[in-house]
Amino acid sequence: MATTEHTDNTHGTTRRDFLFIATGAVGAVGVAGVAWPFIDQMNPDASTQALASIEVDISALATGESMTVMWRGRPIFIRRRTETEVQEAKDTPLSELRDPVARNPNLGGEEPATDVNRAAEGQEDLLVMIGICTHLGCVPLGQQGDYGGWFCPCHGSHYDTAGRIRKGPAPLNLEIPPYTFASESTLVIG
């Protein structure tokens, strides 16, 4: 080969091999650099991200009533639960739960899915959840199903009165959105 004439190092690697690999590596980085914008453009854009927070007036919500609001294109269930509902959820031993984690980002980490950890802080009758079945994204129907909570008609997932998955194909409890109280009756979601 011609390469051997131009180099003293005849034991395998040559200057040409080095240049070949280095050029190839720079080329690969270049391709990845160009590919990324074309992949990332599909992620939620700035205008979608900007809709990330809403205020909800819940002063009119009486015990046993629910309301649904839209947040980030998804329904949010807000429910003032009856005492029976709260009691039922409290009486359920954690060992019976399919998903033992609270799924409440307002608490932080991996809290157990007790009723208190699912409900709003200081108002255990108030339940705020993303109304999207954790199976394949349908909107569950309220106060239905085997556990008197929510029932997803699409593939038959049953949630209890604290929105915890009890039966059916859904793997997780209904998610809770991040929210705070601007005042006692104003909820800020997001």
């Binding site: 992949i39 599909m42 992620n43 939620p44 854009d45 979608t48 649904t68 839209m70 980030r72 294109g73 998804r74 329904p75 999207i132 954790t134 199976h135 394949l136 994204g137 349908c138 909107v139 997803c152 008609p153 699409c154 593939h155 038959g156 059916g168 194909p169 859904a170 793997p171």
Partner: protein, 444 residues
């Protein structure tokens, strides 16, 4: 491919010769579409290839026309479809051709695949041909799914929600992938817009893979109902006019069925809920995909675990890639495989049953039946295909295609007879020409 026609292609026209020596298009057409040797015993199940080509072109032409009148925006899409139906000249016709066409396309492709499995068309040396076909099937499903989202009705929206959510079952990165697919936090305008772009693109990708599929077919040649390889030119007839005319005749019959649906029952295969505009707050009581995806949907719902269901559903398609290596029998055609034949027909019944179950609510006996159907679907490929091949005693296989045709005993069909007559006539005798000359009789 060879540059010049190695056959007896001698164009009379000077212009044709001039072009052909620079770009051998005419030689290619002559070799691959006119003289191409085709087994003379092909039955009507072999006409679905041509029908599928016709359907792909029909879908592309009608789809491009629809795109000229459509707007991929959540505010407009639903109304634009009604605009096509009411205002655009012949818009109703073109839309129904496209919507019904999707169903006809899938009907034809399922017949084509079932024929491939029954007659062992996936076996050596046609593995790559078969796998390209599976790629086309998967691309067709993706295209059809995205097309169904475009009218932005309730089934469009919720179908899109359920199917995109399948990807959320992927551990760790699932939710990120789903947001990336949506371009938001739910199915919304960015989703509709990109689905439209991809729905327009994918048919051209399919066309590309179809060209590869036909290329691979023309390397190995057609399989045939006996599964016996072509041994000599006695076994074949030239593609034109024998196969072209047969394909065209089958296409006319197919178009009759197609036209019946378009003109008399255009919405029969659709879901009425898709004439309700998409509402992200209200899930329809029963979300069902179009009929051609129902067996896979039934398998998804049969498994009581989210990830498990998704894995099983995708596996039901991906398993098709490996069946050339799962089948241990060296006999191709089920005609000579008594045990495989039974297993095959039970599999067909299982697929149809799963299709029916996919449209039923996911509860009670339906779930149990769907589980049985799913179990058999996989049992057929994973256990029966390898095991039957080892234990089955096949019936005697004919030595050649022409022997099978001439004997006329072992299940000689009308098509076989027709092919036989076709090859005899030009020879002017009661027998097939014994010489090894091209089966194509020279035209005077």
């Amino acid at each position: 491919m060879s540059g010049h026609g190695s056959s007896n292609f001698q164009p009379n026209s000077k212009v044709v010769r001039w072009i052909d020596s620079r770009l051998p298009l005419f030689s290619l057409a002559n070799e691959q579409a006119i003289e191409f040797p085709t087994p003379k015993n092909l039955n009507y199940m072999w006409t679905f290839g041509a029908i599928l080509m016709f359907m792909l072109i029909t879908m592309m032409v009608s789809g491009i026309v629809l795109a000229m009148h459509y707007a991929a925006n959540t505010e407009l899409a639903f109304d634009r479809v009604e605009h096509i139906m009411r205002n655009v000249n012949f818009g109703w016709l073109i839309r129904y051709i496209h919507a019904v066409g999707a169903s006809m396309f899938f009907f034809a492709v399922y017949m084509h695949i079932a024929r491939g499995i029954y007659y062992g068309s996936y076996k050596a040396p046609r593995e790559v041909l078969w796998m390209l076909g599976v790629v086309i099937l998967i691309l067709m499903m993706a295209t059809a799914f995205m097309g169904y989202v475009l009218p932005w009705g309730q089934m469009s929206f919720w179908g899109a929600t359920v199917i995109t959510n399948l990807f959320s079952a992927i551990p760790l990165v699932g939710p990120t992938i789903v947001e990336w697919l949506w371009g938001g936090f739910a199915v919304d305008n960015p989703t509709l817009n990109r689905f439209f772009a991809l729905h327009y693109l994918l048919p051209f990708v399919i066309l590309g893979v179809v060209i590869l599929h036909i290329w691979a077919l023309h390397i190995s040649g057609n399989n045939n109902p006996t599964g016996v390889s072509v041994k000599s030119s006695k076994d074949t007839v030239p593609f034109h006019p024998y196969i072209t005319i047969k394909d065209l005749f089958a296409m006319v019959l197919f178009m009759l069925l197609y036209a019946y649906f378009v003109f008399y029952i255009p919405n029969y295969l659709g879901h009425p809920d898709n004439y309700i505009q998409a509402d992200p707050l209200v899930t329809p009581a029963h979300i069902v995909p179009e009929w051609y995806l129902l067996p896979f949907y039934a398998m998804l719902r049969a498994i009581p675990s989210k990830l498990g269901g998704v894995v099983v559903m995708f596996a039901s398609l991906l398993i098709l890639f490996v069946i050339p290596w799962l089948d241990t029998s060296r006999v191709r055609s089920a005609k000579y495989r008594p045990m495989f034949k039974i297993a095959f027909w039970v599999w067909v019944v299982a697929c149809i049953a799963l299709g029916w179950l996919g449209a039923q609510p996911a509860e009670g006996i339906y779930v149990l039946l769907a589980r049985i159907g799913t179990a058999y679907y996989f049992l057929f490929f994973l256990i029966l295909m390898p095991v039957i091949g080892l234990f089955e005693t096949p019936k005697p296989v004919p030595n050649s295609i022409s022997e099978a045709v001439l004997k006329g005993k072992s299940g000689l069909s009308h098509e076989d007879e027709a092919a036989l007559r076709g090859s005899e006539k030009p020879a002017g005798s009661g027998d097939v020409r014994p010489d090894g000359a091209p089966a194509a009789p020279k035209k005077d």
